[in-house]
Amino acid sequence: MRASTRAAVIFLAPALTAIGAFFFVPVMAAIVISFTDFDIYSLGNWKYARFVGLKNYLDLIENPLFWKALRNTFYFLFVGGPLSIAVSLAAALLLQSKLVRLKGIFRTVYFAPVVTTLVAVAVIWRFVYHPRFGVLNYGLSFVGVTPIDWLGDPEWAMPAIILMAVWKNFGYNMIIFIAGLQNIPQELYEAASIDGAGKWQQFTSITLPMLAPTTLFISIITMIGYLQLFAEPYVMTQGGPLDATLSIVLLMYEQGFRWWNMGYSAAVAFVLFALILVASIFQSTLNRRFKTS
């Protein structure tokens, strides 16, 4: 073995062993488990698990709760995701304005919710959303809105979770947007304004196209994050009311670690993986097409 290869092996061994044994092996094992009826009896002795083929996946398709969880997760993704990205972009644009001083302070404040603990934040917002004593209903009462049972009403529970998630997350994407905005050459704007382009025109014909790669990157990470919705419903609604906030990961957790239907739960996990995979491929194809055109 060449000296440099031997050194590489030594330096890589700990990381590759850890990632191999505790990430890649479990991924493979999860595929296998999803084709078995692994349950609480198999937990004691793995031999009790039997191969059942596609049964878990077929059961999943027939389970209305699964479709409900899928629908809820998509609701969260397709309403919450774009909303969060829009707020992030707006905040980034405001902070990039030449008129603003103290940018650093505002940036830090906007980012603060990102580093907070999601569970604690969910506990706080549960009280913000309290139908009688909550601050939100109190504030809304001044504009004539009758009290809403945010987390107790199946219609409002998901919007409430989305609102909280946007509050918690927008600072993260905002930072990435700011980095993207700083990469746009200033001369473009100068040339455009000499040509008589207005602010709005500059935004649509310079800022947005130049931000496209950033936006795609943000869409992918936001999508991956939003598909993994778990702690918010776990703490705030336990998936209710009437399963209105049951998410894919919550379903996986309950099936796997509350009822110990691990084969079934592994199948749910793979649906999550498939969703992320398909969406990532879709978005990177979009990205490539965008780059060539």
């Binding site: 440099s4 050194a7 330096f11 890589l12 700990p14 990381a15 850890a18 990632i19 505790f22 990430f23 890649f24 092996v25 479990p26 991924v27 094992a29 999860a30 488990i33 937990l43 793995w46 405001l94 902070l95 008129l99 603003v100 830090t108 404040v109 906007y110 603060a112 919710p113 580093v115 907070t116 603990t117 569970v119 604690a120 934040v121 506990v123 706080i124 549960r126 009280f127 913000v128 004593f133 909550g134 109190y138 509050w167 930072i175 990435i176 980095a179 950033t214 990157f217 991956i224 778990f230 702690a231 776990y234 957790y253 796997g256 670690f257 996990a269 999550l272 993986f273 992320i276 990532s280």
Partner: protein, 272 residues
């Protein structure tokens, strides 16, 4: 016109800042209210009289010191161990020429899209067999190495000039000496960034500790808080005090080192 625009802009910025901070300020304020005050109408924003009773009962009656200890221990342990392992691998990918380097790295990168939830069931079974369920090792082991960490360090280490390493080698330094005395000191900024990200990630993590820590005495703060909040739904002030204890350490850490943290996110996003 310009000054009107500026005023308007500041108004919007301050309003957003208010919305961002309000829930956190209310959390602190409510944690200091006498029992029951947070559940009155109209809602009050400031305590009638300041009391630290809720913090006292968290630490005396509800075992919070133990959860705090668990959280600190696990976050520090994962941070230190992963820092060593990731930096070794990141350095190797950046500077060593060996067969398969590119393809192994590409495989690792592409694995980043696999959600951790997929691994959780088998990982639970594996750690159960190894006897690590309900132990610190149960949280530390899956956190020992991370692709994201290796990636960040590799990107940074690539900018270290080869001539520096060559010169050290001519002076007779071995691989470990080079790693320890040249690479690590030069990588300090990214190592600090990664430490903060790892520490906060472990501190805030919920699903995995919820799964792996089955006994009350092993709970981390988020797991304990989630549990308490489902039992003590009515004790608003107490729960707010628990939230303060959970959030304050990461928020203070962020406030003191935010430059590193934010630059890490920017660096992580520039992987076209």
């Amino acid at each position: 016109m310009k000054s009107l625009q500026r005023t308007l802009l500041y108004v919007v910025l301050v309003v957003i800042a208010g919305i961002t901070l309000a829930p956190l300020v209310w959390m602190v304020s409510a944690s200091l209210m006498p029992t029951g005050q947070a559940s009155t109408f109209p809602p009050s924003f400031f305590p009638q009289e300041v009391t630290f009773d809720h913090y006292r009962s968290l630490f005396t009656r509800l075992n919070l010191a133990r959860y705090l200890f668990n959280s600190v221990l696990l976050s520090v342990a994962v941070m230190l161990i992963s820092l060593v392992i990731n930096s070794m691998a990141g350095y190797a990918f950046a500077k060593f020429r060996f067969k398969g380097s590119r393809s192994i790295f590409a495989l690792l990168l592409s694995s980043m899209i696999i959600p951790a939830q997929v691994t959780m069931l088998p990982l639970f079974l594996l750690l159960n067999k190894m006897g690590f369920i309900n132990s610190y090792a149960g949280v530390i082991i899956p956190g020992m190495a991370s692709v994201f960490g290796i990636f960040l360090i590799r990107q940074f280490a690539q900018s270290i000039p080869d001539s520096l390493i060559e010169a050290a080698r001519i002076d007779g330094a071995g691989d470990f000496k080079i790693y320890w005395t040249i690479i690590l000191p030069l990588c300090k900024p990214i190592l600090i960034t990664l430490s903060i990200i790892t520490f906060m990630g472990t501190w805030n993590d919920f699903l995995w500790p919820l799964i792996v820590m089955t006994d009350d005495s092993m709970y981390t703060l988020p797991v304990a808080l989630a549990n308490l909040s489902l039992e003590h739904v009515q004790d608003t002030e107490l729960m707010m005090a628990g939230s303060v204890v959970t959030i304050a350490p990461v928020l203070i850490l962020f406030a003191s080192v935010q430059r590193y943290y934010i630059s890490g996110i920017m660096a992580g996003s520039l992987k076209e």
